[in-house]
Symmetry: C2
Subunit: 144 residues, 2 copies
DNA sequence: CTTGACCTATGATCTAGATCTAAGGTTTAT
DNA sequence: ATAAACCTTAGATCTAGATCATAGGTCAAG
């Protein structure tokens, strides 16, 4: 069992952030002490770590609340609803993955162009690096 | 040449957001009309689209400002500085990619468990789905 | 039994990012 | 030449997310 300060320190966040997450239905301590202190279990800690990771990749707290609410349960006929939610988030994640992969490619290209190869780019910005692998996406150049 | 309203509409954002980006050194119109109207070029539009995509994958405006400032120039001896910045962002992107890939795996697992296979999970949450491919990362289960 | 480090609750403050308000100038169409 | 639809500026407001301030209860150590 962790008290609020212990859990906060273990996960490198502020005590108040834990109270904030509780008020916003993201994570409640499994119990309270006699005198009202919050008591968090190991499981609570895992949920918190999930929240922090999800935040780190750009999910909003509202989205994280949804993710945490997912309960795939064969006995439950709300299964279709869950599947829709999961598949929506999955599409979201995959869109981000695709976009990030483009950034990765561009940044690699810039990194290589820089200081490295003797006769590479004479002048290159992230925009140009990105453009060179994005032609087929959206723009129609009508430069005639 | 786009006027502010035209560019905003084309990119589905608010006029005020463009003024905000200008004030915050992210994107300035290439010129002004006689009467002071902002005039944006096609190039400006590309920068804006870059900003919007970068935002979409979780870069802050401050980070985007840095990315836009990257100018790999062989004639410029600040090249080492640029490389450090680029490589820092690259590491950042790759960390996000790894994390997102884990979410993708977990969500796929949930999606498959749900409604699909007749005898799959009886009860499964995102946490459990995530744990099952994260054992080697941090937790030590001592359930004996 | 009191000091200091912790905890409680409520409500205010801060930041980033975006949008809105107010007071007025510009352009286009009638 | 005037109404409608734009544009300008400066500054206020809003949201999400987090942190701080205040006033007080709890608890371990001296």
């Amino acid at each position: 069992m962790y008290r609020i300060g212990e859990l906060a320190k273990a996960c490198d966040i502020n005590n108040d952030t834990l109270r904030f997450y509780e008020k916003n239905a993201l994570l409640s301590p499994s119990s309270r002490s006699e005198s009202g202190y919050r008591l968090y279990t190991e499981k609570d800690k895992e949920i918190l770590q999930f929240i922090l990771r999800a935040k780190g990749v750009g999910f909003t707290l509202a989205e994280i609340r949804e993710l945490l609410s997912i309960e795939v349960n064969k006995a439950d006929n709300a299964c279709a609803d869950v599947k829709i939610l999961v598949d929506t988030k999955l599409a979201d994640v995959e869109r981000k993955l695709a976009e990030l992969t483009r950034f990765q490619t561009s940044l690699k290209r810039l990194s290589d162009a820089c200081c490295g190869g003797e006769e590479s780019a004479e002048h290159c910005t992230i925009l140009e690096a990105l453009e060179s692998n994005t032609n087929n996406v959206r723009h129609e150049h009508h430069h005639d």
